[in-house]
Symmetry: C2
Subunit: 712 residues, 2 copies
């Protein structure tokens, strides 16, 4: 699947590296149009900037053209700051004049939540696709190539020369050019680009992210997203990002229903169920954070840290209390602070001479501000089981110089440094030097710990995925195609459900073992079937129109002989006719009775934005009370299946909990992979699938679907 | 229980409000002794400051005395900065000279983790108690009365006149006078006191907190604690703090094993199991936070906010993205953002005139920086279901003035304001004015949401507790005393356990219903007992020496007649003798078979620092897999018992989950209260109690303990 064409990427390239910008709706006053022109003019020494507004001869010291058609050249980028009902005309005229791309600042489109404005936005998007003049916006604040200091934005803010390897993409312009930019500048975190995508009539978050992946100067993509237009594009971006080792760090609205409500009222993008997004982010190595400070701090850490050569973290501080607190937060974030090696402890003790505490975390008292500090850092970071050194302190420039030198040396051995700054954020010594040198800095211990955890998780995830590849969709086999063809016509009258037997034939064709069972149309057939299968047996009605069988009284368990089977057949058929007089009754399923093993649930659903989602959970009431499930986008591979199983707490029951036999986890993982393949193969046809219960038998004995329900 | 004497509080009073300070170990150089003298001398215009050091005639411009004995007056406070082995002598001499209190900066005591230094610290503590010359420290950085600008501290930092109603107490001096103080100054958060307690040889965190509760100028107590010397003092402080509406906000090390390890190596205070502390904090209204910034921000919010008149929160921002993110975080923190009333929506729309979005959260675009903003805030906050207004913006002084005026007016109606500052932290317009006016400020949305949630939770908790009182210990009844006397001698030989029957008699004496059962010493007695109880019955061995009955083969369930009972009796006794040849065998318990109902677990343990802890959890494997339990310190009242039950997810099973009958939650709550009383009554004797399972029968039918085990 490819979402991106060369011409689209070329259009984005013109947007971010224009040789000429025209600002339609430029004004002398510092409103949106005036600010856009003012921002663009700052690059006047390097690019051509044109003002377009028929009401003026000259604006901000340059000639104003009556219209785009009158421009002396075809502009690479047109900034559009006109009333909403003139935007489409300006776009058409710009296209005619040969413009390559447009940034639409104008608001008044789908965010108004009324049909005609939504339609108008749709027309912008359609025109962009059709004409090839691609659009950023509308209802955005524009974008900036920070690295080359070219600002095509209606914001009055600039970044004062601060550049770095983090590409920032936000839907909300007031956020991008508000707190995200100001905190980046304040915290010395360098950005390569700032892109606000607004309502995304045409280009969206994923398109710009895809473009930035090709930019060698971009090491991390940081984003703030209220809702994805098509989240599957994000999966493709994430796979490519993993390949190129460019982490994606995101704030995604939707943690709570309130945020979703707010998001709907703002960008008009649909926000999906949050748990599914969490699953997707984990599955594709996307780091989710909670706020702009965290987004920037974690992005800076990821951009400026080597892949940790070891998982161990060493912490050194001038304060015992701060070292305790830092260690506590690191522990809670799942980081490992290995005890000092004898050599390191003796080395540090040799310096401390009875003061402080040579341990991990180390409390080195005033020695953190002494000539001996480099030696202490050397002992702490030099241990073979340590990949990252945390310095928790607030020294002056002398300490900063020591830390920077230590970092530079450590990089040669793949070891990183992070600083927990415990002084004021406005400090004029030490801190500015650390920022300037791109030492990753945090200001409170829990954020530091979350950041380091994100760094380690990203690289672990990436190593595993690169070694195994991402799961790929397999084509349907002939047998599967035939099985499906045989089943579709049998879909029931009053519903789009398959019967249990049909549902099991379906999953069976994708390799999921099911109970041995025979469909019987008469009492005598049922008795014969029972004989074939072997007692005891289970009898259930087979009908696409009776979904809740137990409640309908159409299930009989543990039948021991022909007499019981014959009686049960009659009762079931009678109850079924009472329960669903007009329903399709295929007959009665005679089924083996499965004993032993552990009940689990496997399910599929289709999300509008994320596509097929696989669910795995423990069986019985535990899944309902504890919501003990794992989710993944489909397809998955075997390793992902094992991760899913590991994530479900109740799956401890499969590991020989309390003396029960170990379950066949290998077979379970295989079944999950097969169901995920079924999910992608049947996308667009299937709407839901429940295998409940799937019985996981003891090791070596496989799994068996006891009941299944497929809804088309 | 009273932990605090008038003379102790008077000694602390002298420490924090000294008319004279002597610094023993003062030096000209700015080391610890020099800094202490330097800090004290800043109050020289108001109090007498003396230097004591035989090596100098004069230090920092004042006369130096050879010893404390030579001082012209008995000092209120002696600051001690001498080598560890001289501290006790200085204390003794100070006491002789009539000194009232001492701050011991000197280190080298129990933090060294060696016996002789621990002993020496013990001697300091003992001397303080005996002499009445109370001690802060050792291994601390001293303390400060910020309000009156008197600093008895070896830190070089001051607070530059910034005072407020927050009393700060930290064990770690380098933390108190490090990040806590510098961030407070930077964020404009005013402190009344800064107290570092160090190793707490004598006075501890709770003693100083208790003292501050009597100070009318202190509204909030903020603390950083690595471990409590006696956590039960904290319970008493918390109760009194609730009475006086002075919230306690704490960072407590121990979130992870790593933090605990670090804490042990630092303050030598024992750190208990973290879940128990969480339970205690929730039970006694203590707000637990994660870092110094959060500690200060939440304390400031609590100190400067009225009790919310309504739970609803209204959010207004100039940015749609920020309003979404803020709403999302508020929702996740459990806050309610009620939809706008028609009146408010029409009012805001009347101003926005088609721009932005009149909702909750509201995106009011540039109107946040207009003359209309007060009117917008009025509409948002004026709604009857709103108790607090959040302004998420970053305006100039004009906006700050509007917000301050709105806050001042709102306070008359019990409505608060919190500001989410989205600009730089170093802003020179707007922000400083907001700080000066004590508007509570947060800098990222999730911290704001956590803060507001803490504010609401504190007042809800307090209202409930004040209306119901705290649970009180009841004295043992005569019947209970007798039951206990009858049981103690029967404690088994090889263990300190009671048998099942004895354990049940014990809990029965405290009002917990148990199974009907008769102890039979012969097969014939067992048959008679079964007749009396009624079939079916259960037979179990009764022995304090066989704790795992099922594994030992000494339980028979569902016996239907005399023959089965007689046979079961013989088998059980035979298995019991094989299993525990030397054990006490009281005979066989003949017990009613309890059917129906839901299994739960009730347990007791005793924590060295927290005393008796009550555990309630769901039964079976759920408690083990999901760790689905609630903990409380004992005793509890009925409302707390109901809260415990509500906290356990599996207790949904008691609420008629999936059509099963509702459980007798009233009886369960009563049993929890009774067990909590048993816990306090038997403290010092009992060591553990398990009631597993306790069966919760359908509504109106009570509860019944089916098995119990008491360990003394």
């Amino acid at each position: 699947m490819t979402f991106w064409t060369d011409s689209m990427l070329a259009s984005i390239d013109k947007m971010l590296n224009p040789k000429s910008i025209a600002v339609v709706g430029a004004t002398p006053r510092m409103q949106y149009g005036g600010r856009f022109l003012n921002a663009a003019l700052k690059a006047q020494d390097r690019i051509n900037v044109y003002a377009v507004n028929p009401r003026y001869e000259e604006i901000q010291g340059i000639k104003s053209y009556p219209s785009v058609s009158d421009l002396p050249e075809a502009p690479d980028l047109v900034g559009i700051v006109v009333p909403y009902d003139q935007v489409l005309d300006v776009l058409k005229e710009s296209h005619q004049r040969g413009a390559k791309s447009a940034v639409v600042i104008s608001a008044g489109f789908s965010e108004r939540q009324v049909d005609d404005r939504r339609d108008l936005q749709g027309q912008l998007g359609a025109f962009a696709l059709e004409s090839g003049l691609r659009i950023c916006g509308p209802n955005c604040l524009g974008l900036a190539n920070v690295r080359d200091d070219i600002w095509a934005s209606a914001s009055s803010r600039g970044a004062d020369g601060l550049t770095g390897p983090i590409g920032l993409i936000c839907q909300s312009g007031a956020s991008a050019f508000g707190p995200f930019l100001t905190r980046a500048v304040e915290n010395g975190i360098g950005l390569s680009h700032i892109i606000s995508t607004g309502n995304e009539a045409d280009l969206d978050f994923c398109d710009f992210a895809r473009y930035l992946l090709d930019d060698d100067g971009v090491k991390v993509i940081a984003g703030f997203v209220e809702g994805f237009k098509d989240a599957r594009k994000l999966v493709e971006v994430a796979k490519l990002a993993a390949d190129r080792c460019k982490p994606i760090v995101l704030i995604k609205i939707g943690r709570s229903e309130l945020g979703t409500r707010a998001a709907r009222s703002h960008t008009a993008a649909l926000t999906g169920m949050d748990e599914r997004y969490d699953a997707m982010f984990a599955q594709y190595g996307i780091t989710r954070v909670r706020d702009y400070d965290e987004l920037l701090e974690v992005s800076q850490l990821l951009a400026h840290s080597p892949k940790p050569v070891q998982r161990g973290v060493a912490v050194v501080s001038h304060s015992g209390g701060i070292s305790s607190l830092t260690a506590d937060m690191c522990g809670q974030a799942g980081l490992d602070l290995p005890p000092l090696t004898d050599q390191a402890r003796d080395g540090v003790n040799g310096i401390l001479k009875g003061f402080g505490w040579a341990a991990n975390p180390a409390d080195v008292t005033g020695f953190a501000n002494s000539e001996s500090f480099p030696e202490i850092m050397g002992h702490m970071a030099g241990q073979p089981n340590v990949g990252c050194l945390v310095v928790a302190s607030a020294g002056a420039d002398a300490q900063a110089e020591q830390v920077i030198a230590h970092r530079d040396e450590g990089l040669k051995h793949g070891k990183g440094v992070a600083f927990l700054w415990t002084g004021t954020r406005g400090a004029t010594s030490g801190l500015p030097m650390l920022k300037e040198a791109n030492i990753p800095i945090f200001y409170v211990p829990d954020k530091l710990a979350l950041g380091l955890s994100a760094l380690q998780n990203y690289h672990s995830w990436r190593d595993l995925r690169l070694s195994q590849g991402f799961a790929a969709t397999q084509n349907m086999s002939q047998q599967q195609t035939q099985a499906l063809a045989g089943l579709r016509p049998k879909v029931g009258i009053s519903s789009s459900a398959l019967s249990e037997h049909q549902s099991k034939q379906l999953i069976n064709a994708w390799g999921v073992p099911t109970t041995r069972e025979i469909l019987a149309a008469t009492s005598a057939e049922a008795v014969d079937a029972a004989q074939t299968i072997g007692y005891p047996v289970v009898l259930k009605v087979d009908s696409p129109d009776i979904l809740h069988k137990t409640e309908a009284g159409v299930v009989r368990l543990g039948l021991q002989n022909a007499e019981q089977v014959a009686a049960a057949y009659d009762e079931i058929m009678s109850n079924a006719r009472t329960h669903a007089p007009a329903g399709v009754l295929n007959g009665v399923l005679v089924q083996e009775l499965v004993t032993g093993g552990t009940e689990v649930i496997v399910g599929l659903s289709y999300d509008d934005q994320l596509g097929p989602v696989l669910l795995f959970g423990t069986g019985g009431i535990m899944v309902e009370i504890y919501n003990d499930v794992a989710l993944r986008l489909c397809p998955i591979n075997l390793e992902e299946a094992r991760e899913m199983i590991g994530q479900v707490r109740g799956a401890k029951l499969l590991q020989g909990f309390r003396g029960s036999p170990r379950g066949d986890v290998t077979a379970l993982a295989g079944a999950l992979v097969q169901v995920s393949q079924l999910a992608v193969n049947l996308e667009g046809q299937l709407s839901e699938l429940d295998i409940n219960p799937l019985i996981v038998l003891p090791e070596g004995q496989g799994v068996k679907a006891v009941d299944a329900l497929a809804l088309f």
